[in-house]
């Protein structure tokens, strides 16, 4: 395991993208920053631009309006980067299956741009903060 991967695991910079969510998952993501769950002790930090990010925390069902922006953000993140589909909506359009304004689950949208993108799924509606942390840890271990 070369040093690049080791360092990537120890310091994950996260950028949050909402593609049409009921913002339950967004609030759970913010809960990760609050004192009770504080993810900074794992080196996970929220950053201000996709350029700095290693992981994209994508929530929401990927409405047609948001799909293009998500692809643009993915192109702008510096590789290697992991796409985390947070919540049932991002994993597979959840309860909004078949709605006319939905452009499909997040991984389909991202895979259109880069077929071999690394995508990790954290199911749950909303996934508990503990579930999100364990999801991130498992995904990093698997890279």
């Amino acid at each position: 395991m070369n040093w690049k991967l080791w360092s990537l695991k120890k310091s994950v910079w996260v950028f949050h993208v909402n593609t049409g969510a009921c913002n339950n998952c967004d609030i759970e993501i913010v809960n990760l920053l609050t004192p009770k769950f504080d993810v900074e002790r794992f080196g996970i930090k929220l950053v201000g631009s996709p350029r700095h990010a290693d992981a994209l925390l994508v929530t929401g069902v990927g409405t047609r309006q948001a799909a293009l922006r998500l692809q643009e953000v993915y192109r702008q993140t510096s590789k290697p980067c992991v796409v985390f589909c947070m919540g049932a909506c991002a994993c597979g359009t959840g309860i909004f299956e078949g709605a006319y304004h939905v452009a499909g689950p997040v991984d389909k949208i991202v895979k259109e741009v880069d077929p071999n993108a690394i995508v990790a799924y954290v199911p749950g509606c909303p996934p508990k903060p503990e579930a999100m942390i364990s999801g991130v840890v498992k995904a990093l271990a698997a890279i």
Binding site: K4, S7, G48, R51
Partner: protein, 318 residues
């Protein structure tokens, strides 16, 4: 030949790049840890800043099309070399090796990182970065004047005691503690706030790329270039407080007690910086400018006059 090798060793390894970097990483970890503890949070582990930089080295570098490639890539390196030279000079001053007029050189080197930041972000072509660059320029104009005035006070204070030849050499100034007088203390406080602004900490982090908000000077940088910026910031976290220690608080000796005292002073300055960072909300750009020009400016002019009177009448406490 041996001469060159030892010099190289001095600059690159011991007191130079590697050692300062280690101290810088430790200091930036301390800053993050204290801010986290204030908010009931646990805060990052010790090696966190080091790992952040290592990870960034391994990342892919994205350069936007509209950016001017050469300037975009060169800016961080320019900034880094500036701070590196400054750090090396300060350590050497501590060890007695110095040349006349190095205070002025030091002040110039200190401006280099901010100029590099402005250059880099405006060359990156993103509207947000140019907004950030404009703010950084205003901030630089804001705190440069008071900073230079503060150093003039220090030079004037020590001039009374030194022969003309040595007046502008860091080593000489390091022997004395100008802060022990009214004008010196005033100058020290203002210089500390200017260093706070130069480091880009709250309350003057207006242009800095905030983790929590999107725009900022470094928005377009990624991968190794961003790592260089972060390196520059960690080095600045060492160099600037060290500069204050050398100029105002009587420098860092190389043996026994003097070394211990020097490190103690450095830690005190660092704690002061952290305290200011955690107790103030962010200040608006025009307020920062007004603060530096309308409050610090006249205050320091008075301090310079006080220092001169002190020399003329020989009252060192003035």
């Amino acid at each position: 030949m041996m001469e060159v090798l030892t010099n190289l060793f001095w600059i690159l390894i011991f007191p130079g790049f590697v050692f300062t970097l280690a101290v810088g990483l430790l200091a930036s970890w301390l800053v993050r840890k204290v801010s986290a503890l204030v908010q009931y949070r646990v805060g990052p582990p010790v090696y966190q800043p080091a790992v952040d930089v290592m990870k960034l080295m391994g990342k892919e570098i994205l350069i936007p099309e509209e950016a001017h490639r050469a300037v975009f890539v060169a800016a961080p390196l320019v900034g880094l070399s500036g701070v590196l030279l400054l750090a090396a000079m300060l350590w050497l001053a501590g060890a007695g090796v110095a040349f006349v007029g190095d205070v002025i050189v030091a002040i110039y080197l200190m401006v280099l990182p901010s100029l590099a930041l402005i250059l880099g972000s405006s060359s990156s072509g993103s509207p947000h970065a140019s907004v950030g660059a404009a703010r950084e320029m205003k901030l630089v104009m804001g705190y440069e004047l008071p900073l230079i005035l503060a150093f003039i006070v220090a030079v004037v204070k020590t001039a009374g005691v030194l022969e003309p030849a040595e007046q502008l050499s860091l080593v000489a100034i390091a022997q004395h503690t100008p802060v022990a007088s009214i004008s010196g203390a005033l100058a020290f406080i203002v210089a500390l706030l200017c260093v706070q602004a130069k480091l880009g900490f709250v309350p003057f982090d207006i242009a800095e790329s905030e983790t929590e908000v999107a725009s900022g000077v470094m928005i377009e940088y990624s991968g190794a270039l961003l790592a260089v910026w972060k390196l520059m910031q960690t080095l600045m976290l060492v160099a600037l407080p060290l500069f204050l220690v050398v100029v105002f608080l009587g420098g860092v000796g190389t043996s026994g007690w003097a070394l211990g005292g020097g490190i103690g002073k450095y830690v005190i300055v660092l704690v002061l910086v952290i305290l200011i960072k955690n107790t103030n909300p962010r200040v608006r750009i025009d307020q920062a400018m007004r603060f530096f020009w309308c409050y610090c400016g006249p205050l320091l002019v008075a301090a310079v006059i006080l220092a001169m009177l002190g020399n003329y009448y020989g009252l060192t406490w003035l």
